[in-house]
Symmetry: C3
Subunit: 161 residues, 3 copies
């Protein structure tokens, strides 16, 4: 009998699978875990090593595309957690998501875009995926990405989750 991982099952129900976790863009770690405190490096809407969306929301991209980009970045958050913790059983819970949205001048609906990330994290991780959030708008992000997610979490012990 194979144990079913509820995180993968929840993703499958949305037609999603966990990708390989993206490599760092410089001299830092994908995930850093010290004494149970975990932090992920900034995650972008990458798919197979390339940005799935490029540019600013409200300019090159619509709000719906920004929402989809936030969801894709959150999928990479899940992939990084899975790789770093070897499954989700050691995840005690997410803490905070700082969500940066590359925004056209004067465009201020960043929270609506970031709900794409928040919804996926909670759908996949349940209670443990709940998080505080800070929404920020910036003119441009590295790589010209529309969204960057910066996530902290707490790690625990054993079992698939």
């Amino acid at each position: 009998m194979t144990a079913v991982c509820p995180v993968r099952a929840a993703l499958r129900a949305r037609g999603l699978t966990l990708p390989d976790p993206p490599a760092p863009a410089g001299g830092y770690e994908r995930v850093r875990l010290v004494r149970g405190m975990g932090v992920l490096s900034g995650q972008f809407p990458l798919r197979d090593g390339r940005l799935g969306f490029i540019g600013r929301v409200g300019a090159e991209l619509t709000e719906a595309e920004g929402h989809a980009a936030a969801e894709l970045a959150a999928l990479n958050v899940l992939a990084q957690l899975d790789a770093a913790l070897r499954g989700f059983s050691r995840l005690a819970g997410l803490l905070r998501v700082d969500g940066y949205v590359a925004s056209a001048e004067g465009w201020v609906r960043q929270p609506a875009v970031l709900d794409g990330a928040s919804a996926l994290l909670v759908a996949a991780l349940g209670e443990r995926g709940r998080h505080a959030r800070a929404a920020l708008g910036v003119p441009r992000l590295p790589l010209d990405a529309p969204v960057e997610l910066v996530v902290s979490f707490v790690a625990a012990e054993a079992g698939c989750g």
Copy 2:
């Protein structure tokens, strides 16, 4: 005999009272607390559910208005802590305040604005309100707010504080 809460007393001495904590603007938690590590979602200068100040410091708003907006956002930080911890007795101490200031182009006095938040937090919470801080300027913030505060803290046990 009623115990006097020193935090409320300190606020009263400044003519302030704790408001109701603002509701989230999307699918996330006001405050997240996992194994004693606490984080608050981004707090804005909201009063009765509406922004008390709108726009950018150095453009639509003066530095003094920015300072007042930072103080109002810090009052909401205190309201969120009070609601999440059911009083301040379980607060071991604040850790960091990331303060984002919506700034006119070329305007770089963000630290002076954020002192409005830092002063209130220390006045209300004493030693436990001390914090590290990062000041950042951005062109616009969600809702067209002038200030957003992102606060982390450590939680402990019992007693009014």
Copy 3:
């Protein structure tokens, strides 16, 4: 016999010495440490109390100057840790570096600039200097600095490190 501090030795090998830790620019702490969780206030490329580099990367400054500015800001990170922990022996490890780069419009190579900070932190602190990182671009930073580093860490017990 004098114990040799490997951090200072690693810096010396690069022709660097630990400066005095810069003073805060307002009503906050240089470093805040609560129950082992540590955070540093935003660090800038200051040298003897003045910015060693001023302006935006891709505009007033070249990418190479931005890289040097990030290294200088990281040297101040080390100075703050040394002062707060009275040496590096109580440092369990860095967690995350949020690196903000003041960027010309459309300039998106922030990770290359921040590698100047990451490389120094790992060279000086070894395994304990490894960190997750988030790279962000903003139009301007406080003081018109090109780089601001926001660092979190975990503290432990005794010995020079």
